[in-house]
């Protein structure tokens, strides 16, 4: 994954660059003190992720967001907590870091960006949606679920259990219906009662996979497809 840093404060750019250096597969392409220069660069180059300060004189981070088309994933870096609500109006913003930025929080933001990035790029490979969210109806409320955070869906009679990094949901639906909504590149039905997120597999032993703390059976007919999905050495 590559990135650019946009911040009018040189100390802030130095800190973000230092934090980026600690992330193995993150390359800083360029840094900008001026968001207008960054727009020009962005229009000519492929950028996966932008660290974007909001509070900049003349041309703010929000001006930048409104100027560019097809924004990549954005991690907002700012001293001002008051911008958080406005910032999340933009779908491209994956996280919001308040300065001073600590490494642990920074890495969490990177992980969020990576999950969303891998999903976004995978959608270009044939998934039938450009959105990375799913709405489920629970007790007459439509609840938004981040698709890449789902690691397991299991059939449970007339219901399905959707397990995510954050929370589990029980929804009145079928495995077939949700299977049609999930991107093929991430999800695989490994058994008539289970769909798994193949990126979340911890290990495979015999005819079962371990995902988080769940051991899931793999049907013989689905095992070949599962093995094909893995980056085997």
């Amino acid at each position: 994954m590559n990135c650019i840093i946009i911040d009018d404060e040189s100390a802030a750019r130095m800190i973000i660059r230092h934090l980026c250096a600690g992330v193995e597969d993150l390359i800083v392409l360029k840094e900008f003190s001026d968001a207008i220069q960054a727009v020009k660069y962005f229009n000519l180059n492929e950028v996966d992720l932008i660290f974007l300060d909001i509070h900049m004189p003349a041309f703010t981070g929000f001006d930048f967001l409104q100027t560019i088309s097809n924004p990549p994933k954005i991690i907002v870096t700012t001293s001002d907590k008051n911008f958080a609500i406005d910032a999340f109006e933009y779908d491209c913003i994956v996280d919001y870091l308040v300065k001073p930025i600590y490494e642990e929080r920074f890495l969490k933001a990177i992980n969020k960006a990576k999950n969303v990035t891998s999903f976004s790029s995978s959608t270009h490979d044939g998934a039938d949606t450009n959105d990375n969210h799913l709405y489920v109806n629970i007790d007459r409320r439509l609840i938004k679920i981040d698709i890449p955070s789902i690691y397991l869906v299991e059939a449970n009679g007339d219901y399905i259990n959707i397990k995510t990094e954050e929370k589990n949901y029980t929804v009145h639906s079928t495995l077939k219906k949700i299977e049609d909504k999930l991107p093929d590149v991430l999800f695989l039905k490994v058994h008539r009662s289970y769909i798994i997120n193949t990126k979340k597999i911890i290990d495979i032993e015999g005819n079962s996979v371990l995902i988080k703390k769940d051991v899931i059976p793999v049907s013989r007919s689905n095992r070949t497809e599962l093995m094909n999905r893995l980056n085997l050495l």
Partner: protein, 105 residues
Amino acid sequence: MEQPNLLYIKTLSKGDTSFEEKIIKLIKVEFPLEKEKYFDTLSNKKYLKAAEHVHKISHKISILGLKSCYELAGEHESNLREKNEDLKDSFEDILLAITNYMNTI
């Protein structure tokens, strides 16, 4: 009042002394200039400009581990946007503390 310190920089550097030296050098160069601009703009009642300089300085305040001073700087910045100088003296005490600390490192 809190005293400036290098705890945040040390936590961030994880022993990378070259990073520590670079960021301290940067603060030593930039802080006096930003401070001067702040005083100039405020004495000329250019409140919005002065608030911008407080904003820049406040990041350095946070880097130097001054948590409550950082909050105060944020309030002072907002006040200045309303042409209110109530926190001027408290903010300038912080500037003085940093100036003195910069001479020791």
